[in-house]
């Protein structure tokens, strides 16, 4: 087991390094001259030269990368051109919005998908199953940002129950913050749940065909117990994988939902930085989010190894 974990950690480090290379290449190498991107067309050649000097762009590209990575590892992601504050601090300041939004959406997703998927599996090829499948097909087809717009249309434009956006922060207690994240989390989580419903359903269906389920039923074990103890537990292994992968998707999705609901999170930070040609901020945010997704995938991989001993001996 220890060898398995060590090997996984080694591949994780290699993967994270590659993530940093990809971000670096796109921001610093592909444009040719990042100084010109930042200055735009109105910058004078002298000013561009000064900026190049300040950003260290005159050094060999490998040295630039090593330097950037060394600072990034210590949490120093450079300084925002637009706000003149460290990028790391900017990213951290937006997390209290993006993180709870992602987690709330994930919670809603799991709480909807598991019961619905289990229900569909127990009603296999009957009306309830077909109804659940139709609902999930529709859920997959509806883009989350459109769902968000429709929720705004219904709850704030028509009914006037909630404000159409903005974030009240956590200083006023838990509820005001949760309240301003509720609609975006619903739009994000409920519609992402559709994929998980299908995964849960097919996984439970697979397990229900197993011999041990038939044995349990033959012994006269109550159906609720068969489902809850024998079926669901074993069916959860692939479901955890799908849910984990979706957690990364939700984090990316929250970038879009922040725009719909005018929430000042990581996504809005990055979008604003693009308009302002604030390359260090774009670089910092994408490096952070991509690393988070890779880490989530790693955790899922590891959890899979723990839940299913067969994987480790591959």
């Amino acid at each position: 087991m220890r060898r398995y974990v060590l090997r996984r950690v080694a591949t994780l480090v290699a993967t994270l390094l590659l993530v940093s290379v990809l971000v670096f290449v796109v921001i610093r190498v592909l444009p040719g001259d990042p100084a010109l991107v930042i200055m735009g067309t109105e910058g004078s050649p002298e000013a561009a030269a000064r900026l190049r000097e300040a950003m260290g762009l005159n050094r060999p590209i490998v040295v630039q990368y090593a330097d950037w990575l060394w600072h990034a590892l210590r949490g120093d992601l450079g300084v925002s051109i637009q706000y003149d504050v460290p990028v790391g601090r900017l990213v951290l300041s937006r997390l209290p919005l993006t993180l709870p939004l992602t987690l709330m959406a994930a919670g809603l997703m799991v709480l909807t998908a598991l019961p619905l998927g289990l229900y569909a599996a127990t009603r296999h090829r009957r009306v309830g199953d077909y109804a659940a499948m139709v609902v999930s097909q529709v859920g997959i087809a509806v883009p989350s940002f459109w769902a968000g717009l429709l929720l705004i249309l219904l709850f704030s434009v028509r009914l006037g129950w909630v404000r159409s956006g903005g974030f009240e922060g956590w200083s006023g207690g838990l509820w005001p913050g949760v309240r301003s994240l509720l609609l975006p989390a619903v739009a994000l989580g409920l519609f992402q749940a559709a994929v998980l419903v299908r995964a849960t359903r097919s996984s439970v269906l697979d397990v229900l065909r197993e011999d041990y389920v038939r044995t349990a039923r033959a012994k006269g074990v109550r159906e609720t117990l068969v489902l809850g103890k024998h079926a669901l537990r074993n069916a959860l292994i692939p479901v955890v994988t799908v849910a984990g992968i979706q957690l990364g998707q939700l984090m990316a999705g929250s970038i879009v939902l922040e725009s719909v609901f005018a929430l000042p999170g990581l996504g809005r930070l990055a979008l604003g930085a693009i308009t302002a040609r604030d390359l260090p901020v774009v670089q910092g945010v994408t490096l952070f989010v991509a690393s988070c997704i890779v880490l989530i995938n790693f955790a899922v991989d590891l959890a899979y190894g723990f839940l299913d001993p067969r994987i480790r001996h591959e």
Binding site: L22, A141, P143, L149, L271, I274
Partner: protein, 273 residues
């Protein structure tokens, strides 16, 4: 395996019908739209649905129905190119990984793991920061997000097929690597790749809409469903219908393509039926 599901034919037929409607709408929009999708009219701004404008008008008085029709072209184009990029790069990586093996395999796999950290939105953010946002960025960013899935499928196929008798026999007969790859192994890995391509297409359409909505993809005045929703958001209380129709077009298209993909999977892969 077991008896045919009664709804299977219905869903597949529905998928074919909706997809056909999408393609026909896009093709028709080249020769005919009810109004000029770019013609503005100051007096007819933000109208609800009417006989003259069945889907209403936008903030410049442009006919929403005509723009939704033309938007189908954008969606299809971005979808086709993005899936093409993802499949092309992915299959290439998968071949390097699965056929050559060794350290190259290890390297390719780590690259695939790393690419998995970049959903389309994240790559689009990166590209939009250094290049001008536009439809090309959408295509490339969405395509990159598809690379890992295609690469893994191809790799798995090559690992499974390379040691098989027909490949060994062809090699013994003097076939070179390129011939073995393109003539013998790759054709046999196609079914899962075709299924992957069909299921990726609706995902690409959703991603295009999201990127255009964020202002990273298709730019005005080109009609794109996502872009129309971005514009509609500013006028939710004045003309809510403006936000309804483009979104409905996205949902209907994705629904149809997903049903089609499910049906195709059943046809190509009887094991899951």
């Amino acid at each position: 395996m077991s008896r045919r599901q009664p709804l299977r034919h219905v869903t597949f037929a529905l998928g074919v019908a909706i997809t056909a409607l999408l393609v026909l709408t896009a093709a028709l929009s080249f020769v005919y739209t009810p109004k000029d999708p770019l013609a503005m009219s100051i007096s007819g701004r933000l109208q609800g649905p009417s006989g003259d404008h069945p889907f209403g008008t936008d903030q410049y008085g442009r006919d929403v129905l005509s723009r939704v029709m033309r938007g189908a072209v954008t969606s299809i184009a971005v979808g086709v190119v993005a899936v093409g990029i993802g499949a092309g790069l992915g299959v290439l990586l998968g071949i390097l990984s699965g056929y050559v093996g060794g350290w190259l395999d290890e390297g390719c796999m780590r690259l695939i793991d790393a690419l998995q950290g970049f959903p389309a939105i994240l790559s689009a953010l990166l590209f939009a920061a250094v290049f001008a946002p536009g439809v090309v960025i959408s295509m490339v960013a969405i395509g990159i997000a598809f690379v890992p899935a295609f690469a893994r499928l191809t790799r798995a196929g090559f690992l499974e097929l390379a040691p098989r008798e027909f490949v060994v026999a062809a090699r013994a007969l003097g076939a070179r690597d390129l011939r073995l790859i393109t003539g013998h192994i790759l054709p046999n890995t196609l079914p899962p790749l075709i299924i992957q391509a069909t299921t990726s297409f609706p995902v690409a359409i959703l991603a295009e809409a999201a990127l255009a909505y964020l202002g990273l993809g298709t730019q005005p005045p080109h009609p794109s469903w996502g872009l129309m929703l971005k514009e509609a958001q500013n006028f939710l209380s004045l003309n809510p219908w403006f936000a309804v129709f483009p979104g409905g077009a996205i949902a209907l298209t994705v629904l149809g393509l997903n049903l089609l993909g499910d049906g195709l999977r059943d046809l190509l892969d009887p094991k899951t039926a």
